[in-house]
Symmetry: C4
Amino acid sequence: MSELELAIRDLVVANRILAHESIVDAYGHVSVRHPHDPERYLLSCSRSPELVQRGDIMEFKLDGTPVGGDTRVPYLERFIHGGIYEARPDMNAVVHSHAEDVLPFGIAPTPLRPVIHSGGFMGARAPVWDIRDRFGDTNLLVVNMEQGRDLAQCLASNRVVLMRGHGFAAAGTVLRDVVRIAVYLPRNARVLVTAMRLGEVKGLSPGEIERRMAMKPDAPEAWRAWEYWATRAGCGDMLAARPRGVRKRPAKTRRRGR
Amino acid sequence: MSELELAIRDLVVANRILAHESIVDAYGHVSVRHPHDPERYLLSCSRSPELVQRGDIMEFKLDGTPVGGDTRVPYLERFIHGGIYEARPDMNAVVHSHAEDVLPFGIAPTPLRPVIHSGGFMGARAPVWDIRDRFGDTNLLVVNMEQGRDLAQCLASNRVVLMRGHGFAAAGTVLRDVVRIAVYLPRNARVLVTAMRLGEVKGLSPGEIERRMAMKPDAPEAWRAWEYWATRAGCGDMLAARPRGVRKRPAKTRRRGR
Amino acid sequence: MSELELAIRDLVVANRILAHESIVDAYGHVSVRHPHDPERYLLSCSRSPELVQRGDIMEFKLDGTPVGGDTRVPYLERFIHGGIYEARPDMNAVVHSHAEDVLPFGIAPTPLRPVIHSGGFMGARAPVWDIRDRFGDTNLLVVNMEQGRDLAQCLASNRVVLMRGHGFAAAGTVLRDVVRIAVYLPRNARVLVTAMRLGEVKGLSPGEIERRMAMKPDAPEAWRAWEYWATRAGCGDMLAARPRGVRKRPAKTRRRGR
Amino acid sequence: MSELELAIRDLVVANRILAHESIVDAYGHVSVRHPHDPERYLLSCSRSPELVQRGDIMEFKLDGTPVGGDTRVPYLERFIHGGIYEARPDMNAVVHSHAEDVLPFGIAPTPLRPVIHSGGFMGARAPVWDIRDRFGDTNLLVVNMEQGRDLAQCLASNRVVLMRGHGFAAAGTVLRDVVRIAVYLPRNARVLVTAMRLGEVKGLSPGEIERRMAMKPDAPEAWRAWEYWATRAGCGDMLAARPRGVRKRPAKTRRRGR
């Protein structure tokens, strides 16, 4: 498989994982920067992630223009992806999600901050972007590059930005990284909401956050989660090379609890 | 397929979607106005939506009388549908649901209002109908046209009316529209309840609500959700024509994550 | 099928429904009074309800003694059933459940009362039985007739009694009745807990409760729920006769969304 | 099967149960002390529990060194297991979990205490270990024996210790015991959180806790849960001998609700 084919295959797996873990559903999407051209990104045509196939993946310029005159219907909000790729040369994968458990933190004053170790990626707290601040009354969708750039500006050097009344956008160095962030953000949100009912909440210290952010996205512990999520989503046989010493699970035994 | 057969087929799909998305379960129902006669509507006989087949669909006059002397057992609460069709010539599809997450807003003073973009259809706030106001002590079921008309009066020009201690009724211009409303109302309710624990909640502005309500129910973004929900509910091959440029997913690959 | 065979078959279906609807899991059980002898009841041997088969059903005298010297391991807490059958000649089916959402109302002072129409069966409020009041420190299990009778005394003429730190017991005129009660009690509990966060909660009025309690357990609307739950639990082909006019769903089409 | 093969088989079943009951997911693990050598324990290589097979089980010395120069990638946090086995000769099985519902009690001052009978194993309250107390800023993972021993010291003579911002560790006399503890701890946590909204919560008395802790892990009631969980997790045919009088469920009928 060429590098491009591998990127497309992993993007399909990412779509499935995010759907299966309920981070995306009818809406939401995930993209990856083109492996050969940093001015392009790969993103499905307008289709729910659970249904996305290799043949649905389109190429876009950073400004959202489909490459090669592709006439398929694109996601209306692809400008979230382009805006972030443009502002963040260090990031190569983006998720946009409406995951319900994160939404309350986008519409109320309590900051979303890391309280469990797997939430450490978000820094001291997740910034909140309100489209109304600059664009007045809209239908809340990010439908052009001006809005996408404004969102990316709010994201700044963070990994996650909450979108008021809408959802969140996450950025990763690689696909596996942004998928992990997107899966764990709602969990941190749920734990924080519940813990607030039990008294003053002790979150991660600045030093702990720093050490969590320094963890490598391709360590064996990270691979373990990717393998698990992909297998649960029915994509176990689409997985890339695994770390040395971890034997591949033969497909026929996967479902029988042996 | 004739227009009537298409309407019946889509009504079966709607039943499945609402069941699969947990908007209806043992109870709850969905109807559509007859494509050829605005004085009639199509609704299943008394059966849980998950089990409804084409052959279960009955025709009713707006007053709830089965057409043609059909002796099958109808839903006791079909008057919810007839009452709304009678009062709202602009609406052509109705859902009645007991969805749990909406119920608290029907029995306490806090208004249910839109706080996420997908909740914008409900206007400034969802009205609450209490059957006891006009009819005193009952078993809370809407069992005649007098009650159905009273409910429709409370619905007024809105899309949704909460029914105290019971559930809600929703109205749509087309079937796809009312299904979307019914699926997203509980989500908005859940987010609002949780956000209230985080401080003062910022909801959609009047201008945002207006723009959300102006969005067309047959845009590609709306089709995406219908396709997704229908496929998850096992009705992927019963889908109507799709927007230009979106390739149909071949049935054989649908379940295998490719 | 003889009346006894029908009772056993319906008892197996009830076990499956309660398991599938998460009212029982590893623990919990359901019984029915013997159709020919009011001094006996039918109850599975000690096995999780999801796994119960016809061959697991045992007969017990009201005092918990297995009939005919049956040496299979019985449920330790069968005295819940015998105690209620003894005290309530009007009841012919009993469920014991640990359903999580009801437990908070057994360990805190807020009464569990009906706030949704499907919770009307519980009367003004569900009584709470604390085993410690009369028996001091125990492991909280009901392991003899003395405890079973004390529990039944607390149940009094109600349909449900909460068991502090443990679960609840429900009584029904027939099996379908007690299954419905057991399924809806947790739902009413969840709605009340959430509604309490939205202000003062309006529950069912005494007149509404009275009318809900007067509803017949074998009306078509009640059949609809039994058919739905049984079908979801995989027992669709074990269903008893259906109301006139409701066509049986052919087995082969049941799973295909037609 | 030799005693070692039986231990390995039961360990695979335990992995599946904990995964199916959502106590572990991508992360989390379960081990058992070696049946022939108390200075060793059995634990899978680094793999999500849902995917663990017999061939993944490795042997470790208590200090975390793989036996026999096994080069497969081990769990980074195996020192949780070794630390507890070293400190607790009375314990022979250990679970480490990130189960979400327990996390709030590790980051806020309200103690997690038993309020339902199935939570009685935790004693008066579950201790909380904060890695920062002794080790300052870390990434919160237990990655060496010094940390594992410090955790075990906090566990003391209890069955469960909460790990701030991370999860919990549980210890059992046998595998079935620790699995039961791990499954019921989150349930007790959820009930307590909800009950706190209903007024002052009545927990288990010291005498009740004592009697719950005295219950034997291999009573028929305990077997019932293990059989249920294993069957649900697809391992029904990997079960060990059952109590006298409980007939084995023939495999072919298991899924058909008979």
